[in-house]
């Protein structure tokens, strides 16, 4: 329990997300928490993981976390940098990416993601940044990992706007739309790990972070969240994982470092 006590929920979230990546993955990296998780993986158990940012930077190895999707660090440490139309056409749509790593403003019980508006599109109460690369990341990567803090505001029964299609209304909805990829297979939060039910594709809790109780997760979820038959406890961050993450955060611009 020692390691847990002195690690923040955000650190636990990033570590748990990082562990999902392997050396075999070619990962399309979103900015913020996904970028932190992907680079932690690269700096710990998956030194050969291939990281790609939508700015066109292929096989990049940033020494610090980028603030933007196109920071100088990304191009300077990349194997090569291609034009943006090529990135989306040949590399993403071309089906060369194994994992798309996304954040979310809202995610619903079927893994659909909203980063466009809170409220109605025509008269939004909050205008969010919008789609960026996410819609096609969600449809073209072999699978999608989502990393997001868990609150009733972010975990909603149904998103206000489907920016990135997850499992739609569940079941075989993706296949019915002609989408060939697996979609969201993993959602890592500051409390737990959720995965889609094999049949209904509803997100269910498969692992609780150390010290987190089911009631807390239920309270932070906007729908009556279900738990897998066997719910595991997420292994706490190792001293090494924590040290590498904290070094990475410490040497990055404050704004780029997840708090």
């Amino acid at each position: 329990m020692g390691a847990v006590a002195d690690c923040s929920p955000s650190e636990m979230m990033i570590v748990a997300a990082a562990r999902a990546l392997s050396n075999d993955d070619v990962c399309f990296v979103g900015i913020g928490l996904p970028s932190a998780a992907c680079n932690l993986a690269r700096l710990t158990h998956a030194p050969e993981v291939t990281l790609i940012y939508e700015s066109g930077t292929i096989e990049t190895r940033p020494h610090v976390l980028p603030l933007s999707i196109g920071d100088p660090e990304l191009c300077q440490t990349a194997l090569t940098t291609v034009p943006v139309p090529e990135m989306f056409a040949y590399w993403l749509q071309g089906g060369r990416i194994t994992v798309g790593f996304l954040a979310a403003a809202q995610i619903d019980r079927f893994g659909n993601i909203n980063t466009t508006v809170i409220g109605s599109y025509g008269r939004p109460t909050v205008r969010l940044p919008g789609a960026g690369g996410a819609p096609e990341i969600a449809s073209h990567c072999r699978q999608v990992f989502v990393i997001v803090s868990q609150t009733p505001r972010t975990f909603v029964p149904q998103v206000d706007f489907i920016t990135s299609f997850g499992h739609g209304t569940g079941g075989d909805h993706r296949q019915r739309l002609g989408i060939r990829t697996a979609g969201p297979t993993l959602v890592v939060t500051d409390l737990a790990v959720l995965r889609p039910d094999p049949e209904t594709r509803e997100l269910v809790v498969t692992s609780l972070h150390p010290g987190v109780r089911r009631e807390e997760v239920a309270a932070q979820t906007g729908w009556p969240v279900r738990f897998a038959p066997t719910v595991e406890e997420t292994p706490p961050p190792s001293a090494h994982e924590l040290a590498v993450l904290r070094d990475l955060v410490a040497r990055s611009t404050p704004a780029a470092a997840p708090s």
Partner: protein, 288 residues
């Protein structure tokens, strides 16, 4: 024989004010591109100083440059795919215009990056539309009538189609131009080649005008002088974004912009101080 004149441009070396006055017109569809890198802030500030109005602004990532143009009331419409302050949060002037119509209402045409990048490529390629496997299941296709679907004539697969983007004028920033007006772009090259070739007019600001372009290798990204109308020497013209090989991104200013832009009065005061009163249009705090 005179067909040439209709399609062949010839880059002229102009001052920033001359280039913007001649090539950016009220009511134009204007695309100032640069994907995080090489954002043409100096040119954007000159557009604000010259008080251009009713612009349709086109940009994948509006970024601070369009937050400023929108906040100063230059735009009536925005065509975009991601409108945030990268890694920081909201573009508050963009939000204020969309949520409260201040300083004026802003029409939106919204795409994904993939769609918009291919729409620029289609514009450069002289096609009326781009096709992609995209927008499946998203509400973007529901709210944007410019996202339609066609069937592949061979497989029957449903494909998204978007109209080609063909701005009236493209404005970009690049590292160098030679004295003939050939332009070199290096690093994150984004959609700059596409937007220049897709647009009816093209203005390029550069860090320096040189005798030798110093292109790295035979396949460097070069825009020939006959694809560009105006070259403007504007050192630092991409600040607070950056120019690969010249200066880094001013992440501190991007972070500070969140506070500056949150409040209408604070925003206007900043613009008066740092843009309207500035001649060169390249003075931005934190870019020392």
């Amino acid at each position: 024989m005179k067909a040439a004149e209709r399609i062949r441009r010839q880059a002229r070396l102009l001052s920033l004010s001359e280039a913007v006055a001649e090539y950016v017109r009220d009511g134009d569809v204007v695309a100032m591109e640069g994907f995080t890198h090489l954002i043409p802030f100096a040119a954007g500030h000159e557009v604000i100083r010259q008080g251009k109005r009713d612009l349709t602004l086109v940009r994948m990532t509006p970024d601070l440059i369009y937050d400023q143009l929108i906040g100063m009331g230059c735009a009536r419409k925005l065509i975009f795919s991601w409108g945030g302050n990268p890694g920081v949060g909201s573009l508050h002037r963009f939000r204020d215009a969309v949520e409260h119509g201040w300083p004026r209402p802003l029409d939106l045409e919204e795409h994904s990056h993939a769609g918009m990048a291919q729409a620029y490529a289609a514009g450069a390629a002289g096609l009326p539309c781009a096709i992609l496997r995209g927008y499946q299941g998203t509400d973007l296709a529901r709210v944007n009538p410019n996202v339609r679907f066609i069937d592949c004539p061979f497989t029957g697969e449903r494909l998204a189609a978007i109209p080609a983007l063909r701005p009236d004028v493209a404005v970009i920033h690049a590292q160098r131009a030679d004295r003939r007006g050939n332009v070199l772009i290096e690093g994150i090259v984004g959609v700059q080649k596409e937007v220049v070739l897709a647009a009816a007019r093209a203005v390029v600001t550069v860090e320096e005008v040189v005798d030798d372009l110093r292109a790295s290798g035979p396949n460097a990204v070069v825009l020939p002088s006959w694809t560009v109308d105006a070259i403007v020497e504007a050192p630092g013209g991409a600040r607070p974004s950056y120019a690969h090989g010249y200066y880094g991104r001013d992440n501190a200013f991007y972070t500070a912009w969140d506070g500056i832009s949150r409040d209408r009065e604070a925003f206007l005061a900043w613009m008066r101080e740092h843009v309207l009163r500035s001649g060169g249009g390249v003075r931005v705090p934190g870019s020392a």
